[in-house]
Symmetry: C2
Subunit: 244 residues, 2 copies
């Protein structure tokens, strides 16, 4: 596979008023725009498909666009010169990316699986925001929520044990997943162990060992590497919160 300058496929709009038919709008910042103004949003949006593993935001590059994820999951990360990586978050459907004041991106983003994004040019979105304060307010809410999540993650990275980190990760992921029985849930992990490790500030080996330990303690089951069943949600939550 050869790296090419333009590494993703751009799909020109084929339908009229694509935003009106967007099934992701309800969970994204776009819901702040009224139905009758959707065409203004649509004409500046560009649908981009990013295949698994491809980078679509590069830390340090000129930040000329915002992104809204409409399918798949992306990992957001920062690197140290020697290759150490910290994943700062996983961005799923409805997630808004690129909220930077600076002229360059502060992080990189890569597709974990097949990702589709709506791409907005920065200056055009800026202008849109001036006309639609509701959208700006919505963005402020999003940013405030991310800030809260970031603080929670700092607590995890700075003060929790490996076991507590994994428990926290699974509990957080289980929010909005299919509950299968009382005190239980089944969840799918699109990212590999390496991603989980770099998200939790651990190594692959420690993640693996800790998961098998949680399994032996009957807190979880691991039917496949990418699917995990929470057997004892309360126990896991207690662990995540620092008890035990």
């Amino acid at each position: 596979m050869v790296a090419r300058p333009l590494s993703f496929v751009i799909e020109p709009h084929r339908v009229l008023d694509p935003c009106a038919h967007c099934d992701v709008r309800s969970v994204s910042v776009c819901s702040a725009i009224d139905d009758r103004d959707l065409n203004r949003l649509a004409e500046m949006a560009e649908v981009v498909n990013v295949e698994s593993g491809r980078t679509f935001i590069d830390e340090g590059e000129k930040a000329d666009a915002f992104f809204n994820i409409t399918a798949g999951t992306a990992r957001l990360y920062k690197l140290l010169p020697d290759g150490r990586r910290q994943i700062t978050g996983f961005a799923g459907v409805g997630h808004f990316l690129g909220l930077a004041v600076s002229a360059t991106y502060a992080f990189s983003a890569e597709a974990v699986d097949a990702v589709r994004v709506c791409r907005f040019s920065r200056p055009r979105l800026r202008r849109l925001l001036e006309d639609f304060p509701a959208m700006e307010q919505r963005l402020l809410d999003v940013a405030a929520n991310e800030l809260v999540a970031a603080q929670e993650q700092m607590l995890l990275l700075g003060r929790k044990t490996a076991r507590e980190r994994l428990a926290s990760f699974l509990v957080a992921r289980s929010a909005g997943s299919t509950p299968c029985g009382p005190n239980q849930a089944r969840l799918h992990l699109p990212m590999g162990r390496g991603d989980i490790a770099d998200y939790l500030g651990l190594t692959i080996e420690t993640v693996s060992r800790t998961l098998t330990r949680l399994k032996s303690e009957k807190l979880i089951e691991i039917p496949t590497t990418t699917d995990i069943v929470i057997r004892d949600r309360d126990g896991l939550e207690a662990l995540a919160g620092g008890l035990n």
Copy 2:
């Protein structure tokens, strides 16, 4: 020292139009409000003095106010039930606090030294924001900047060594401090070793040891425990960035 329900002193405004004479306005979000509208801001602001060590925001409590720091430094932190503490940031003059969507505060805030804050009731500030989109935009910028800082801190907590953490901390603190010679700077640390430890995800002992090591390596000097001189800013920055 007995804890009392109302643990800080409220100073009623004595001057007319206090915001107009506020020497902190230029570095705070309040600068987004036009001179002629300042009275609207002033009538909802309340100056509060918080003495050293006092808590003025309690994680989990009802979030009924925003704060703007006008003097001193506060530590923002989260606790685990067994007492483990992670300081998520130090808030200095001009810093805006309380940007939470949720009904309760996501963190606690304590005065490191003597702190003075402007306190705004939440509903009233919300109404003000509706009338002044410039203020809202300013808040969005603030939030975006904090998000960038939070991601940087996640990289620090998840992937940097103790030596790199201290170097990063000192370099970050030296931004905007008095430069005393080329490649040098003098900086004051209002917080103790325990605060630094809880901010960097380390223990007091490791912070102390690492500082003395940086001193022995001629990267810094430690004239007093609360004042540090950076002798080799480039070396410290390289270390902070993960080189060496």
